[in-house]
């Protein structure tokens, strides 16, 4: 295992140590070592909170910042934060106007958030939730409620965070974030597995010369394993999964997010994006805004995810608002 670690059991705490030092202009520590909050949360706004397992940098703490999330709960690698961490994140974000907790659909996160919402209620804080389920490959369309949340969460945070920054009330923030994720579809292709540092070896296999279409952010098996293809064919495969599911059709305006899974060179993400853009143009789908980079990763997995969000005027306005965090800096 060629990795930069001390004792792998302490990797999350040590990562947080470095993160807080490096980004002291954006975020700060809280009394709970597993909760990071934005430095200057404007008074009187609805709080926006997220959280999830570690190993997905910049997610989740990388989206704590101006006009984005106000606080995030941090879990072990690939493992939900505790209910206590979600609760403390809500407390850190609460300005008396309620808190929107925007997170991804995983059983652990669901249970811990559920418990945190109950505890927050006892503490006098209203928390409403939006659960991201943009990963098309993780369940059939008629069981959308079972789908995982993946890179589409970034767009959900962007939209929800902007709505809160505009002064939207809790229901408006939740509605905007819900609309964002309802309009969003994603798919991933994995080229290599990833290794939890404390385990020391990959716990699933992607054979050399093959790729897994529909892979999850934790290596959850996808819909198909096939021989490795060139970038143009990969792009076609991804577009062919994502477009018909929503469906995105001619005349639609979309935001496109291409994220690396951790170890794929950013250069290759642009190669992939170029091919994706060609296909969207062929179909008459207009790209309003594009994000290309490592937005939501899976440790050192190679591969990428494609996320499309169908836009309307409200979503465009919210997407266009400036934002400043480690993972997303937008003028």
């Amino acid at each position: 295992m060629q990795r930069i670690v001390n004792n792998p059991d302490n990797i999350v705490d040590e990562m947080l140590g470095g993160f807080l030092k490096a980004h002291g202009d954006i975020v700060e520590a809280t009394d709970n070592p597993r909760v990071v909050k934005a430095k200057n949360i404007p008074e009187g706004k609805v709080g926006v909170v997220t959280g999830g397992g570690s190993g997905h940098k910049p997610a989740f703490i990388g989206y704590v910042g101006e006009n984005l999330c106000d606080a995030a709960a941090v879990g072990e690698i690939c493992s939900s934060p505790t209910a206590a961490a979600f609760l403390d994140a809500c407390k850190a974000a609460d300005q008396g106007k309620g808190v929107a907790c925007l997170y991804g659909n995983y059983s652990g996160d669901n249970m811990n958030v559920k418990m945190a919402v109950k505890m927050a209620k006892k503490a006098g804080i209203t928390v409403k939730t939006v659960v991201a389920n943009d990963d098309v490959a993780s369940a059939p369309k008629d069981q959308r409620g079972k789908r995982r949340g993946v890179a589409g969460e970034v767009l959900m945070w962007k939209v929800g965070g902007a709505k809160a920054a505009q002064g939207g009330d809790l229901d408006e923030v939740v509605a905007a974030a819900q609309k964002a994720i309802d309009n969003t579809r994603s798919v991933g292709i994995g080229l290599t597995p990833c290794t939890l540092p404390a385990v020391g070896h990959p716990n699933f296999e992607i054979k050399d010369g093959t790729m897994e279409v529909g892979i999850g952010h934790h290596g959850e098996p996808g819909i198909e394993v096939c021989p490795l293809e060139t970038a143009d064919k990969m792009a076609k495969r991804m577009v062919d999964v994502v477009l018909p599911d929503y469906p995105f059709t001619e005349g639609d305006e979309v935001a496109v997010l291409v994220s690396g899974l951790g170890a794929t060179p950013v250069m290759e993400l642009y190669v992939l994006y170029d091919e994706i853009d060609k296909l969207l143009e062929e179909k008459g789908i207009k790209t309003y805004k594009a994000y290309v980079g490592n937005y939501f990763t899976s440790l050192e997995m190679m591969g990428a995810t494609l996320t499309l969000m169908k836009l309307d005027e409200e979503l465009k306005e919210l997407l266009d608002m400036p934002a400043y965090s480690m993972g997303l800096k937008q003028r």
């Binding site: 059991d9 072990e76 690939c78 939900s80 961490a85 249970m111 811990n112 385990v199 290596g219």
Partner: protein
């Protein structure tokens, strides 16, 4: 003996800790087949925190169950934090204040743990989760106790039921949790939670058996 002293129950807890530590790699591998492979690591971390904090302290069986549950719930998270946290804390609550723990008491405690779990997850027997291990284990203790078979026999039956329950998950298709999204692809592999639950229950049975 037909009971064990709650105050003397710490060795049972340490046996559970050791069993999880010994099976860290095994649970990681089982979880890696259809999950994300972190189950062994996280369970080991939580149980080891308990060991570090309480190995040298005087603590009863029920107090220890409560502390262990709190550690899993408040410090480990994941899905197993709230699941095992709830089971262990509800077991502890049901046995709180008992001086001696009879087989009937133990059966009640286990049943309370299962009840608590079913308050937070909807999984039933047959859904390929740890309920497939825990539920028959609860039934086995109750049946043995009602039939007057004695503590030792009840523990052995619990262990056997847990093992059968764990093995039954192999041929099931997952309906809850991360592996449920795999549908048919989840068949043929044990459920990691069912496997860890069996390890914990077996260690509990062995530990209590040594105290009788």
């Amino acid at each position: 003996m037909s009971t064990f002293k709650n105050a003397d129950g710490k060795p049972v807890l340490l046996k559970m800790v050791k069993a999880i530590q010994d099976n860290k790699a095994y649970l990681g591998e089982v979880d890696g087949l259809i999950g994300d492979g972190d189950h062994g690591m996280n369970m080991n971390k939580g149980f080891s925190v308990f060991e570090a904090r309480f190995a040298d302290k005087d603590i009863s069986f029920t107090e220890g169950l409560d502390e262990l549950g709190m550690i899993l719930l408040n410090e480990i998270g994941g899905s197993m934090g709230p699941i095992y946290g709830t089971i262990l804390m509800d077991m502890a609550e049901a046995g709180e204040g008992l001086e001696d723990i009879s087989v009937a008491d133990f059966g009640n405690m286990l049943a309370a743990g299962l009840d608590g779990l079913q308050g937070i997850v909807e999984a039933q027997v047959g859904d390929k989760t740890l309920v497939d291990t825990l539920s028959p284990a609860v039934d086995a203790v109750k049946q043995a106790q009602e039939a007057g078979e004695g503590y030792e026999a009840a523990l052995q039956k619990m262990k056997a039921a847990a093992e059968t329950g764990r093995d039954s998950t192999k041929d099931m298709v997952a309906k809850f949790g991360r592996s449920s999204r795999l549908g048919e692809r989840s068949r043929g592999v044990l459920d990691a939670g069912a496997a860890s639950c069996c390890i914990i229950l077996s260690a509990m049975a062995e530990g209590i058996s040594e105290l009788l």
